[in-house]
Subunit: 261 residues, 2 copies
């Protein structure tokens, strides 16, 4: 019997830049699963949300191009990377888009600010099965040695099963610790928020400037949330959609009778 | 009888910059309804999505400060403007956040890329009733003369009724035409996407660069969508939420039995 099964094409990006250990780890796992195309930013893009580049031209450089592995860097955001990957590099759609591994959590409300997840949503809008991977360790030299099997198995499952239309996955992984990960929980997004605390300072000329900072506040006691899973040393998977319609509120707004004007 | 009703405090921002005619129009309407605080970017921030500024310090300048009207400009994104407005200017929450009037549509999938709507979502996360207004005319000198009553009445309704927790409004207004607006429709977000078509060129040194461009493709035939309302000369209102969980997909992903690993 000939082994003529076509390898899946996997597009990889992130928001920490092409040099981040997280994307290097993700590349090493994905190369076991298929043909890998990397398009990543040449600098960190954390907190870029779903930003796109429209005021400056995009440039993309080939880093390496070999059998089943190509790597490109560009001056764009994570969302730009997905667009460039599809339109300029592949001139078509990959079988899977994976983004990350992000250095830091994208659970709960972080999904809204995340460049990692913006890339995933962008691929999802284009009908590509897509997964974002993030680990709860902000350190550049974070230990990723405990997450290989989870990332590989989740990715294999998505390649095998596909995903519902308009849905992608937000996967968060506990940081390395002495206690092994307990397993996986399929969750909802926890209701939490960042409470801002600007760090206001004076520059050498006496002018005031502000650094954005803040603390994470989770007021959701649910045991079906991503925060709960992670706090109990489980991998969390939240299915995420780009349809932001608050369907249950449509009738409430209709009851205001604005339409009769 | 004494008129001692406290005026509501209304925070205004946008993503086209403080000088855009759209925000000037919104300011003039809101000054009739309450005390107005403007915090806007000193440059256009279209396509910034939910970006926040973490690599450079934020600076904010007072443009004017008078009875019931204050205006500030800063070097941040629309989301930064909301954070600065709450934490640095008001040191508290406004009664209402309005963003816009955006020069161009934020209906359908545009909500994902929109800085205008990112500011609205940011306020919503903080528990502030919030509305984004956008008009389907990208011109700087767009005619806004036909939308005053709609913006005023929708804003008054939100001030009176509040909004459900975790929900804000995405309001899109038809461009000025000879035909008067037919009314308001409360809608769901249309399923559509931007199909990218990079405009690739050579610079004077021969290096390739790419301008992001594309065409809007709506494959949603529903008559309950924002696109349908706007195409038929109605104002569209979509209630929008920041909980991105695709609840209906949780059971599907659970059926993969990833949890048993």
């Amino acid at each position: 019997m000939m082994n003529n099964i076509k390898k899946p094409t996997i597009l990889i990006t992130n928001d920490d830049g092409y040099f981040a250990p997280g994307i290097r780890k993700l590349i090493s796992i994905m190369r076991k699963l298929g043909r890998v195309i990397v398009v990543a930013s040449d600098q960190p893009m954390s907190g870029m949300g779903h930003a796109i580049t429209i005021k400056t031209p995009l440039r993309i450089k080939t880093v390496c191009k070999e059998q089943d592995y190509e790597e490109y860097i560009c001056n764009g955001t994570p969302v730009d990377c997905v667009k460039l990957g599809e339109q300029v590099v592949l001139k078509g759609k990959p079988d899977l888009l994976v983004s990350g591994i992000n250095h830091g959590s994208n659970a709960s409300i972080n999904v809204i600010y995340s460049g990692t997840m913006a890339a995933v949503l962008e691929a999802c809008i284009d009908g590509i099965p897509a997964i974002g991977f993030s680990m709860l360790d902000y350190n550049h030299d974070a230990d990723f040695s405990h997450v290989d099997n989870y990332i590989e198995n989740i990715s294999k499952s998505v390649l095998k099963n596909g995903l519902p239309i308009g849905v992608c996955l937000n996967v968060n992984l506990p940081a390395f610790s002495n206690e092994p990960i307990k397993g996986i929980k399929i969750c909802r997004q926890s209701h939490a928020r960042w409470v801002e605390e600007f760090d206001s300072r004076h520059d050498p000329r006496g002018a005031v400037y502000h650094w954005l900072t803040g603390r994470f506040e989770n007021d959701d006691a649910g045991e079906d949330t991503d925060q709960f899973a992670l706090e109990n040393n489980y991998v969390s998977i939240v299915p995420v959609q780009y349809d932001l319609t608050a369907y249950k509120s449509i009738e409430i707004i209709k009851s205001w009778n604005l339409e009769e004007e």
